[in-house]
Amino acid sequence: MNMGNGKEKKQTNRQWLFWLLPLSFFVIFYFYPLGNIFALSFSRSETGVLVPFLDAIQSNSVQNVLSFTVWQALLSTLLTLAIGLPGAYLFGRFKFRGKNLLRALTGVPFVMPTLVVAAAFNALLGPRGWLNLGLMDIFDLSEPPIRFINTLGAILLAHVFYNTTIVLRMVGDFWGRLDPKLTQAAQTLGANRWQSWWGVTVPLLLPAITAAALLVFIFDFTSFGVVLVLGGPKFSTLEVEIFYQTISLFNLPMAAVLSLIQLFTTLGLTIIYTRLSNKLSRPLKQRGRKITQSKLLGWRQKTFGATMIGLMVLLFVTPLLALGVRSFTRLDPDKRQTVESVQSGFTTDFYEELSVNSRDSYFYAPPTSAIQTSLLYASATVFFALVLGFPAAWALARYKKSLASRLLDPILMLPLGTSAVTLGLGFIVALDSPPLDLRTSPLLIPLAHTLVAFPFVVRSLTPALRSIQPVLRKAAASLGASPSKVFKEIDLPLIGRALIVSATFALTISLGEFGATALVARPEFPTIPVVIYRFLSQPGGLNYGQALALSTILMVVTTLGMLAIERLRIAEVNEF
């Protein structure tokens, strides 16, 4: 064995140092609970392990559910890309007034509880929504012409509403760092606009596009709340079916089979993705925003900019705005058949009422306490997700070709494809004895959130880390920089944006998450979404109004949180 080989081996061994923390976390909080619940589920099967599988595969309804799940996820992903990619181009390449705010607002849907989003769409598109009332007014109709709730269109629109931010952020960020000289060079060499686009820009963007598309697809594929609330009883995804089998029927073996189908589909997709991305990603010369971004110039760019901004405002901001407006309006029951009734009176009652414990309830939580609790869990999630995700992304980028990287890379995505119902019960079954009796610990909430945030962090950071040209590190090292100095001066500035993107995802995932929070909720310390659900589950105008008021507060907190992270500016790419 020569020296070079020995050094390489030492290098590969060192990668386990990076994996130690993330892997331990995964084993304890993911594989262990999941293994436990699957084992328990199949032990309850009277017909062994195999029969439930065969039953599921042969069942017509399972086949229908599976094909619908894939179909709607494909459609949703394509639509999301259709809006997200031009949007990413706008955010990545251009400067315009209000850009940061618009970008933050497009991310707000990500945290909104499904029932609230349903309420927002209902205010716009429901039977008594603005659109229907307007059309009824204009055409003098007696029935609302547009049926929105319980349609495939509602599912698709909601998925686009929720997930476009993933494309905007992941692709937009990457686009913003591409050296424009590359396309300029192609054009100097005689390529026309389209040729340089397809020959240079698209191939360079592909790693980011595939990563974003994969995440969006998995989110749509495992969609639960949107399908349940907006899709209605005629539509069912695997996740909805798992919920039904588990909660309504308590048929755990069947639920486990469906969970496994969902899991392995995710795994299969992720393996294809990782193969692909290993081929696609390459070190790139990165540029700062000063170079890559310009103002919108000329009529073409201006028209494009105006169209995209208008479209994004319409799609993402209007529903949020409708909620906000509704939280300040009192409905007048006498005139509710007209458009005007929607805005029949300004009121701050709902906000004032939030701070009143009108029933002397022991579980009452003032909005400030709910905001505090939410922010506490969210900052813990950001922290955990970065501490665990960074070393993993680092190892993946540094030891790209090692066996460990190739094996572990797809596995890291699994939590996103895992049924929340199944994993939640897994926690109950597995984490039940000291030192791991975390079933009732508040710590379990950020840990569960971290499981979901972790893949986002890895997916955002890895492409950025991989695109750092090794020659930069080597040059710095040969000039006498210590490894830590190389990291600080070379790596950190180059991945600063990606870190911000990761942190933002972790923050929003935690702020909006409801399932895990409800899993072990200490009712004295509810998060904002939990309190919103409490109000929404009771009749009465004041309850509904308070739910909307608190949703508006959640939107504001999220927007501010995202703007604050943007401000952190860990480091901006310097010019070399």
Partner: protein
């Protein structure tokens, strides 16, 4: 190595909590350490209690009650069942008669014959072995938009059967029994009324009469019910929903804008139970808590906290609650054994007829 990882994570977590200065949680941790007697009570999401009433129990018994919310009724029962020999809590409140069979089959409760059972009428005691003790009941009933019926000079339906008449076409919104608890209760009401052989025919006619099915109560009530965002003036909800509309009105009102139909054989009664979780190490205190829930102190707190009715005959109900309340004299009866045996089969058959 894993332990070390956890240790680090835990330390970091605690550190973080300190940093963000959330005193509530800090205080609680300290209090928990200083207070040896803790009773853990698991509940469904709708549980509520007033501060005073809880303080009374805590002071009297020198105990701190830690509540755990475990999701809706079905989810909570599943969690209790799966926790097995290491129960999540000492007591579990919130299983109702639609899920009771699962709780009993899974053997999650220890039997306890509370002395207060004498104050509770026999009709609520569905478990003869007293593993699950009745606490309260509420009725799932059709609600209607009073103004709509007045404006359109339409008579209010008196029986479930009326709903299939053409003049009530496109007026009803219900919830999917597979995903919603009031939806399931309403399905049971139709089975009780028309029998296991007749309910599907009734539903076929409802489908012809353009019944709208949504998956959850929130969508039915706030998006489709004509009192709120929708066009349907009849909705499946609770008998106690009309008083909610008054007490939680946007502006003070003297009469509720909605009413419940409580005619004979139109409502389904949900009875909720409490039980001591098998394997508790706190049996004595758990018994005290169960007694407390059956006592008039707690029973009189129930209506305005959770909008359900006390089962204890001696409990006096608050007037604000009773004023707008209609209670069915004769809700639909369905034997618990039948529910236990046919639940899944009924839901499946219903789905085939109404959804597919």
């Amino acid at each position: 190595m894993f332990k070390k990882g956890i240790l680090i994570l835990t330390l970091v977590g605690i550190g973080l909590m300190g940093c963000t200065n959330n005193q509530n949680i800090n205080n609680e941790i300290i209090e928990e350490d200083a207070e040896p007697a803790t009773l853990t009570v698991m509940t469904h999401d709708s549980f509520a209690i007033s501060e005073e009433v809880l303080a009374e129990f805590e002071n009297e018994n020198n105990v701190q009650v830690q509540f755990l919310r475990a999701g809706d009724t079905g989810t909570a029962v599943n969690k209790a069942a799966l926790a097995g020999d290491s129960p999540l809590a000492d007591v579990f409140y919130g299983v109702d008669n639609t899920f009771l069979s699962r709780a009993l089959e899974e053997n999650i409760f220890e039997s306890y014959q509370s002395p207060l059972l004498g104050e509770i009428p026999d009709q609520y005691k569905l478990d003869e072995q007293f593993r699950a003790l009745p606490v309260d009941f509420g009725d799932v009933c059709l609600n209607y938009d009073i103004e709509y019926f007045a404006q359109n000079k339409l008579a209010i339906p008196k029986k479930l059967k009326d709903l299939q008449i053409p003049k009530y076409k496109s007026l009803l919104v219900v919830q999917n029994p597979a995903t919603s608890s009031p939806g399931l209760a309403f399905l049971f009401a139709t089975i009780g009324e028309f029998g296991p052989d007749g309910y599907l025919k009734f539903w076929e006619k409802l489908v012809k009469n353009d019944v709208l099915v949504v998956n959850d109560w929130e969508t039915a009530y706030y998006s489709e019910f004509s009192r709120w965002g929708g066009t349907r003036p009849i909705v499946v909800s609770y008998g106690s929903s009309p008083p909610f509309e008054v007490i939680f009105a946007e502006e003070e009102m003297s009469d509720p804008p909605t009413a419940a139909i409580v005619a004979d054989s139109t409502c389904f009664r949900q009875i909720e139970f409490v039980g001591i979780l098998r394997g508790t190490e706190n049996r004595e205190m758990a018994e005290k808590w169960v007694d407390f829930m059956l006592s008039t102190t707690f029973q009189e707190d129930l209506p305005l906290q959770m909008y359900v009715f006390p089962v204890n005959e001696n409990a006096v109900m608050d007037e604000a609650f009773v004023e707008f309340l209609a209670v069915p004299d004769e809700p639909v009866y369905l034997a618990p054994e039948d529910i236990a045996e046919h639940r899944e089969e009924w839901i499946e058959a219903w789905t085939d007829v109404v959804i597919r």
